[in-house]
Amino acid sequence: MKFTGKIWKFGDNVDTDAIIPARYLTTSDPEVLAAHCMEDADPTFPVKVKKGDIIVAGENFGCGSSREHAPIAIKAAGISCVIARSFARIFYRNAFNMGLTIFESRDLWERVAEGDELTVDGDEGLIWIAKGKESLAVEPIPAFMQELILSGGLMSYLAAKRRSGNGR
């Protein structure tokens, strides 16, 4: 799995109220959620975000509520993957369950600026920055997680397994 995109940079402790404010939780329609994604943190985000863009953030990304609306909004906004120093536990779980790709990198944040382009190679475990001149190691996505992401999340993955007779 390989992702190339323009960076949106955020700081530490981006909470789920910032990712998708609770006032929009009366729906779970991905398009509606995407239209308000990150708007309290950066009002230009939902307007200017392009398909394939990448979020780079600091510590504890996705802290706060368990709302799956958060990874749904980010995914529906077109973000290809999120790379943070660390993730809050429930968000981490939800991201994989929803089929949103995430990576943990301690060092990337300081070495990139908003608007830069980067490429992540999730198979090789490498992030390419500075127009491909520099690279950082990142934990590759385990095969099972890749399969889960490609299926579109945990439940689609389980349903596919059931159909093929491999699941319970």
Binding site: D15, R23, N60, A88, I90, M155
Partner: protein, 419 residues
């Protein structure tokens, strides 16, 4: 080698052997909980995976508490999805308006969660039930859907941090102050992925309400769960509510901890978490002059009868400051009724407070007390993120019910000793 209470409960819910920290396990859940925000997605996912019947209609619990009584058409539609599913599945524990309360106040009160249980809930404050000596953690809707289907969920066995609390609490200091103080010390990711285990002589003197408040906010330090080993106080609380058996676990004396943190509570004064993180803790004596527009008393953190009693004690014979709104939200119908019996509701009304039906409401910026641009609210809730209770430029100050009530009277952030 000794084990922690968290490890013991997880081990008791899986067939896997040799449970130790860091191990991935598939575990049986005793309760799987959803609300009107998270259950609609879980129900859709459940169907998408070919689900027909839930694994156990007594163990899947649905509580429409967030945008209820229905805030608008969209929230009414969400609640209808939940209601229809509950009817179709014949769920024992679905709570309609009139019976519904804030989920994490309701489930312990109704004896639905008991010591030794393994509980998942599609709500981050599910960690509240750790106060009963259960392992309880928040998950997303998809994990809830999988559990509704299979009765199981996967977990990584967490490391534990032990908080040893010593000494006697000062006047007006409660569980809320202890947990804000601790989060202030360790930060909003200070317990990331870990269990927070509370112990020490102070803990044994805490009421169940205080313990529930503390376990409730474990997530605000990033923890997977907060937990208190059951004692006589716990047993007295659960024995009159339990309709099934339960198991009491405790940590072994030689259990391994990631860290042990000693807290001398005698030095702690009432705490306030300033915007915009629960870790921005300050003692009430150093808050300065912060004029306020609203006070909100309620939520899964501090909407219990003990909280309302403290607030009423401060408000008795006093009035809310001019141009300040005080909103009191008893967390469950049982609490509401008890408050009525004890004359607390009358005290609130005399003080010119508005008293609402049980709801999560404005705690999450839903309804029933939303803030305008630039407004400030003191709230007995658990989160003060940007825009949490309304406009992105509004502010939330987290405090205990005594501080909240005193602030309502004085029109600024203040402790009850200033009255």
């Amino acid at each position: 080698m000794g084990r922690t209470i968290t490890e013991k409960i997880l081990a008791a819910h899986t067939t896997q052997k040799g449970i130790r920290t860091g191990m991935l396990i598939n575990a049986r859940v005793d309760i799987a909980l959803g609300n009107d925000v998270t259950a609609p997605i879980a129900i859709a996912e459940f169907r998408k995976a070919g689900g027909v019947n839930v694994f156990d209609k007594e163990k899947v619990v649905l509580v429409p508490d967030h945008f209820t009584p229905n805030k608008d058409i969209a929230s009414a539609e969400q609640c209808r999805i939940v209601r229809q599913f509950a009817r179709e599945q014949g769920l024992t524990n679905y709570f309609e308006i009139g019976e519904v309360g804030v989920e994490h106040a309701l489930l312990p009160e109704q004896g639905i969660v008991l010591p030794g249980d393994l509980v998942i809930g599609a709500d981050s404050h599910t960690c509240t039930y750790g106060a009963l000596g259960a392992f309880a953690t928040g998950v997303g809707s998809t994990d809830l859907a999988a559990a509704m289907l299979t009765g199981e969920a996967w977990f990584k066995v967490p490391e534990s941090m032990k908080f040893v609390l010593h000494g006697q609490l000062s006047k007006w200091v409660s569980g809320k102050d202890l947990i804000i103080y601790v989060i202030g010390k360790i930060g909003v990711d200070g317990a990331l992925y870990r269990a927070m285990e509370f112990t020490g002589d102070t803990v044994r003197t805490l009421t169940m309400a205080d313990r529930l408040t503390m376990a409730n906010m474990a997530i605000e330090a990033g923890a997977k769960n907060g937990i208190f080993a059951p004692d006589e106080t716990t047993i007295a609380y659960v024995k009159e509510r339990a309709k099934r058996g339960y198991t009491v676990y405790d940590s072994d004396p030689d259990a391994t901890y990631a860290s042990v943190i000693e807290v001398d509570v005698t030095k702690i004064e009432p705490q306030v978490a300033f915007p915009h993180l629960p870790s921005n803790a300050r003692g009430i004596s150093s808050v300065g002059n912060v004029p306020i527009d609203q006070v909100w008393i309620g939520s899964c953190t501090n909407g219990r009868i003990e909280d309302l009693r403290v607030a009423a004690k401060v408000l008795k014979g006093r009035r809310v400051a001019p141009y300040v709104r005080l909103i009191v939200v008893p967390a469950t119908p049982t609490i509401y009724r008890q408050a009525l019996k004890e004359g607390l509701i009358e005290t609130f009304l005399d003080a010119k407070a508005a008293v609402s039906a049980p709801t999560c409401g404005a705690c999450l910026g839903g309804h029933m007390g939303i803030l305008a641009k630039g407004e400030r609210s003191v709230a007995t809730t658990n989160r003060n993120f940007v825009g949490r209770m309304g406009h992105p430029e509004s502010e939330v100050y987290l405090a205990n019910p005594a501080v909240a009530a005193a602030s309502a009277v004085l029109g600024r952030l203040a402790g009850p000793d200033e009255l």
